[in-house]
Symmetry: C3
Subunit: 155 residues, 3 copies
């Protein structure tokens, strides 16, 4: 499975970013009770938030999708780091929580969070199919357009 | 318990809706580590979002309560579908997450989410008593007024 | 560990508040599958919400931090009450969910939620290090500035 995730990332031309340090006093990921929990990740790229702003007010759908996809790459990077550099212990993704900075009038949150969900299924296959919520929030840390948290089941 | 949930729904004159297909690339519910996770559900009725808009700006408390109640019926429908058509394996509800589309001035989110919590206790009794959060968000998918996610413990 | 948590609280001059009753039809905390789940807690102090309003619009960072800290004290009070008055069974904190009432322009949610995270590490040490999300929402119950939910692993 680990080879699979990483080889599929490679096939997609994607590298996992360095696992970003938390923006505050918490841990990016931890194992408890057979699950791996990953803290809410921002769309970090090369050490900076790559997509800032609000869906429905300056950030378009394509940028929102790109933001969610970047969040998911950071989720996978944190998962890998927390598991000692190897994703082989991941049995499946249980849940993604998708927070989208949006105006009250914006209603396409599912399409935005698909940026994360679609990539996860691309790299994990059936075991990447997860439950999720997608909601529109007032604002996110550092002005990010999207934040995604995750929960995985370990084997 | 299953007979109980379904007979109590019947006694209340309530039918579970068809389990709606996800609005995007994820699964509506899955079992992992002894828990059943249910994706965020909207107030779907007859295949459409029945309560749209924002609490504090056009949607009144009664409609908000009705929306939360519909979300919960969809949660139960998804749980039943994921468990092969039978809720007998549900030991208890662990948690509801309640997202309410609201203006900054609205403060009655608990009363809104009670639409879900009260119905759950009506149909599950003591085993329906759960932890929860209730928060006011900027907007929800498809313009829904409420979204409810859930986590159940299986026996 | 229990002595430790409570003795560290004492050393900090902090008393756990009375565990507040839920604002609605749910339970403040429950044990399931080896975890303790705690419902979203508001910054209650002496039976009232101590910090109301919106970050970025009248509530400054210091008050936001104080609100998050109060939320965490209420989380610990609920955890203690749910465990029969003793925190000795708590192995570690797995996750905090931090909701901050904020304007769209506010971006310092991590600093606000640090009020909870920092206090947790102060009183629990390494076992208090947790995953988390921090997001800015439109509004919270009773006009509270912050709401914090939690999940602990039991031994």
């Amino acid at each position: 499975m680990s080879e699979s995730i990483e080889s599929r990332l490679q096939a997609l031309g994607l590298d996992l970013p360095n696992a970003p340090a938390p923006a505050a006093n918490y841990v990016p990921a931890l194992v408890a009770g057979g699950f791996l929990f990953v803290s809410g990740q921002l769309p970090m790229e090369n050490g900076a938030v790559a997509v800032k702003g609000t869906l429905g007010d300056g950030v378009d759908l394509a940028d929102g999708v790109r933001a969610a996809r970047l969040c998911l790459l950071n989720v996978l990077a944190q998962a890998k780091a927390a598991l000692g550099g190897d994703l082989v212990k991941v049995a499946r993704c249980v849940k993604l929580g998708g927070f989208v900075a949006s105006t009250p009038a914006f209603t396409d949150h599912p399409k935005v969070v698909n940026g994360a969900s679609d990539l996860l299924v691309e790299v994990m296959g059936e075991t990447g199919r997860h439950t999720r919520f997608a909601v529109g929030v007032a604002a996110l840390p550092l002005g990010a357009a999207v934040e995604v948290e995750a929960m995985f089941l370990l084997r």
